[in-house]
C-alpha cells in the first residue's frame, strides 16, 4: 500500500526527472551553437590577420611561393594554396582522424575557407580549429544534469519529509487514536487542536461519529440489561402460578404433565434471560475483580459438582489435571466458563461416551466424542447453534468467548480423530 507522503513525492520526482532530461539536449544545442559561433569568429579573425599580414609583407613572387610552401609545412591545420579564381567564403564542420596522435581517434574541426589575392595571384586560405566533439559535450552535460538531479532528489525527499510530516502530523495522530479505539471500552476520543481547518473538520466529524457509536452501543447494551431485568418479574410470576397450579385438587396426570412441560420451557427462557444478562454485564465490565485462581482445584470441584449428570449419562471421564495450575482471573466468570464447557461436552455426548478433561500450565482442553466436525465460525456466536428442541440456550459458548476476550485468553475448537476438542489457552 502506498503511503500518503510517498504519493506526492513520486509526482515531484518524476517531474524533476523529465525536466532535467529535457534540459540535456537544450543545453547541448546552446553550448554547441555558442561554441561553433565563437570558433567561426576566431577563424575569421585569424584568416583576416593572415591575409593582411601577408599583403603587408610585399613579397616578391619567388619569396611568396617559398613562404607559402613553408607555411603549409609548418601549419598543417591551415592551408594556403593558389587557386584559379576568387570564390565566396565558406565554412565547414567535419570529423577527422587525428594524424599526429592516433590514440585520440576522431577529432572535430570547424573550418573556414577564404579567398584573397596577393601580388595579383588568387589564394585560398583554409583555416581550421579543433572543436569539442558532440558526444563529449553531451556526456558532460548529462553528467552534470544527473548530478543535479540527485541533489534535487535528495533535497526534495528531505524537504518533503520535513514539511509533510509537520503538515500531516495531526492527521497521523488522529489516525493512531482511531486505531487504538475500542468500542467495548467505552471512552470517547479527544483529538488535539490543530489550527488547520480541514483537520478540525475531520476531527470534529470523527468525534461526532464516535460519540454517536458509543451512545448507540450503550443504549443497546442497556436495552439488553433492562429487558432482562424487566423479564425477571413476569417469569417469576409465571413460575409461581405454575407451582400453585400444581397444588390444585384434584389434578390429573395429564394436567400434571402439562405443568411440567411448561416448567421446562419456562426454565429455558429463564436461562436464556440470565445468560443475556450475564453477557451484557460482562460487556459492561461489571466483573472487574481479579484474583489468583487455583484452576486445578476449581476444576476438580466442578467435576464433582457435576457428578449427577455424568452418572446420568454413564459418561466416562478421563482427567489429566496438572496439579496447582494457577491462573489470574475473575473467579465467578471462571466458574461459569468451566461449567459451560463441561456441560457442553456432557450435553452433546451420547450415553457411555468418553469426556476427556486436560489441564496443563497454559492450556485447558475438554473433548467429547463426536461424529462430524462442527462449524467453528458459528459455534461461539450468540444463538449460532441453538435449536428449538434442545435445552441449550445457544449462549453458553458465546459466554465462554466473551469471558476469554475479557481475560485475554484464546478459545478454540477443532475436530480430531472423532473428538470435538474445545480448548482455552492463556499466557
Amino acid at each position: 500500500m502506498n503511503k500518503l507522503l510517498n504519493k506526492s513525492m513520486r509526482a515531484f520526482v518524476l517531474y524533476a526527472g523529465i525536466v532535467l532530461a529535457c534540459s540535456i539536449p537544450a543545453y547541448y544545442a546552446i553550448i554547441d551553437f555558442i561554441w561553433a559561433h565563437e570558433l567561426k569568429e576566431h577563424n575569421r579573425i585569424v584568416s583576416a590577420t593572415t591575409r593582411q599580414n601577408l599583403q603587408a609583407l610585399s613579397l616578391t613572387d619567388k619569396e611568396l611561393s617559398e613562404t607559402v610552401a613553408l607555411w603549409n609545412k609548418l601549419q598543417p591545420e591551415t592551408q594556403l594554396q593558389p587557386v584559379a579564381a576568387l570564390r565566396p567564403d565558406s565554412t565547414y564542420n567535419i570529423y577527422r582522424k587525428n594524424k599526429y596522435i592516433p590514440a585520440k581517434g576522431w577529432d572535430r574541426f570547424q573550418g573556414l575557407v577564404t579567398y584573397f589575392t596577393i601580388n595579383g595571384k588568387v589564394f585560398r586560405l583554409t583555416q581550421e580549429v579543433n572543436m569539442e566533439e558532440s558526444h563529449e559535450t553531451i556526456i558532460a552535460i548529462a553528467g552534470v544534469a544527473f548530478l543535479f538531479f540527485l541533489i534535487l532528489l535528495g533535497g526534495l525527499i528531505f524537504i518533503n519529509k520535513r514539511t509533510s510530516e509537520k503538515l500531516w502530523r495531526p492527521f497521523y495522530s488522529s489516525l493512531q487514536k482511531i486505531q487504538a479505539f475500542d468500542l467495548h471500552r467505552q471512552y470517547a476520543i479527544e483529538f488535539e487542536k490543530t489550527g488547520i481547518e480541514e483537520f478540525e473538520t475531520l476531527n470534529h466529524h470523527l468525534e461526532k461519529l464516535i460519540a454517536g457509536n458509543i451512545a448507540v452501543y450503550k443504549q443497546q447494551k442497556e436495552f439488553t440489561q433492562n429487558a432482562s431485568h424487566e423479564l425477571q418479574t413476569p417469569l417469576s410470576i409465571v413460575r409461581f402460578k405454575l407451582d400453585l397450579l400444581h397444588q390444585s385438587k384434584p389434578i390429573t396426570d395429564e394436567q400434571s404433565a402439562l405443568i411440567d412441560e411448561a416448567h421446562q420451557s419456562l426454565s429455558k427462557v429463564t436461562r436464556i434471560n440470565k445468560n443475556l444478562l450475564l453477557l451484557a454485564k460482562i460487556e459492561n465490565s461489571q466483573f472487574s475483580g481479579k484474583e489468583a485462581i487455583n484452576l486445578s482445584a476449581l476444576l476438580e470441584k466442578h467435576i464433582s459438582l457435576l457428578d449427577d449428570f455424568l452418572e446420568d449419562k454413564q459418561l466416562q471421564v478421563i482427567k489429566h489435571i496438572a496439579p496447582d495450575v494457577v491462573l489470574s482471573g475473575n473467579k465467578t466468570l471462571t466458574e461459569i466458563l468451566l461449567t459451560n464447557l463441561i456441560m457442553n461436552a456432557v450435553r452433546h455426548s451420547q450415553p457411555k461416551d468418553t469426556v476427556t478433561i486436560t489441564l496443563k500450565t497454559h492450556l485447558l482442553e475438554i473433548s467429547n466424542t463426536g461424529a462430524m466436525p462442527l462449524e467453528e465460525k458459528m459455534l461461539f456466536r450468540r444463538f449460532g447453534t441453538s435449536s428449538p428442541n434442545t435445552t441449550g440456550t445457544g449462549l453458553g459458548l458465546a459466554i465462554v468467548r466473551q469471558i476469554c476476550q475479557l481475560h485475554g485468553w484464546q478459545e478454540s475448537y477443532r475436530f480430531e480423530n472423532g473428538f470435538h476438542l474445545f480448548s482455552i489457552a492463556w499466557a
Binding site: 417469569l235 410470576i237 409461581f240 389434578i251 396426570d253 446420568d312 465467578t332
Partner: protein, 224 residues
C-alpha cells in the same frame, strides 16, 4: 407463625401468600419501604421475606433498619439481582438467606422452614414427625430412635419435602434445588429418580411410614 412479605409486585406476593398459607403461616404483606418499616416497628415476625428493589427506598437500608431492632426473626432476601456481589452484600448486612428470582415456591417454603427452626433456641432444631426425628444441627436422622445414614443430597431432599408437606413438588423444582442453574442445561433428570429411590428405600428399611408419594408422571408429595 407470622411472616412478613416485603415485595412491590403484588402478583408475586399473592402467589407466595397463597402457597404458604396452607402451612400454619400467617402472612402479612408490605408493598413499599414505608409500609414495611411501619409493620416491623409494630409487630413481631418469625421470618421476613425482603425484596431489594422497593418503591420508596433501598432494600438493603431496610435490612439495616431491621437488624438495628435486634429481634429474633429470620430474613430471606428475594431479589432479581443474582450477582455474587449482591448476595455477599445481603448476607453481610444480616440476611440469613438469599434467593434469586425466579425461584420455585417449594424452594422458598423449604428455606423458610429451615430458617425458622435454626433461629429458635428451645431445641426446635429437632424436627419430629411420628417415628421420624431430624436434627438440623448435626444433620442426622433417627427412625424409632435408630440412626439412618443418608447422603448429603438425600438429607437435603428429605428436608425439602418436610418443608413442603402435602404439596406436589415438580421434578423441575427438585432438580433446581439439587444443582441450581445447571439442572436446566440437560433434558432428563434421571439422577433425581435415583436419589429419591435411595431415600425411599433407606427410610422404608428403617421402618418409616410411606410418606413420600410419587405423583404419577411428574412429581412427588410428602403426605402427612
Amino acid at each position: 407463625m407470622k411472616l412478613l412479605i416485603i415485595e412491590d409486585e403484588i402478583q408475586l406476593a399473592q402467589s407466595i401468600i397463597s402457597y404458604l398459607s396452607g402451612e400454619n403461616y400467617v402472612c402479612e404483606y408490605a408493598g413499599t419501604y414505608q409500609q414495611a418499616l411501619a409493620k416491623i416497628e409494630m409487630f413481631e415476625y418469625e421470618c421476613i421475606l425482603l425484596d431489594l428493589m422497593l418503591p420508596g427506598g433501598d432494600g438493603i437500608r431496610l435490612l439495616e433498619e431491621i437488624k438495628k431492632r435486634d429481634k429474633e426473626e429470620g430474613i430471606i432476601i428475594i431479589s432479581a439481582k443474582d450477582s455474587y456481589e449482591d448476595k455477599i452484600l445481603g448476607l453481610q448486612t444480616g440476611a440469613d438467606d438469599y434467593l434469586a428470582k425466579p425461584f420455585h415456591l417449594p424452594e422458598l417454603s423449604a428455606r423458610i422452614f429451615s430458617i425458622i427452626r435454626r433461629r429458635k433456641f428451645n431445641n426446635s432444631n429437632i424436627i419430629r414427625q411420628n417415628e421420624l426425628t431430624i436434627n438440623l444441627l448435626s444433620k442426622t436422622v433417627l427412625i424409632n430412635n435408630a440412626p439412618v445414614i443418608l447422603t448429603k443430597k438425600e438429607f437435603d431432599l428429605l428436608l425439602y419435602f418436610i418443608g413442603n408437606k402435602n404439596k406436589v413438588i415438580s421434578k423441575n423444582a427438585l432438580a433446581e434445588h439439587l444443582s441450581g442453574d445447571i439442572a436446566g442445561m440437560l433434558d432428563d433428570h434421571n439422577f433425581i429418580y435415583a436419589h429419591i429411590k435411595n431415600l425411599k428405600k433407606k427410610l422404608g428399611e428403617a421402618g418409616c411410614g410411606h410418606y413420600l408419594k410419587t405423583i404419577y408422571g411428574t412429581g412427588y408429595r410428602w403426605e402427612v
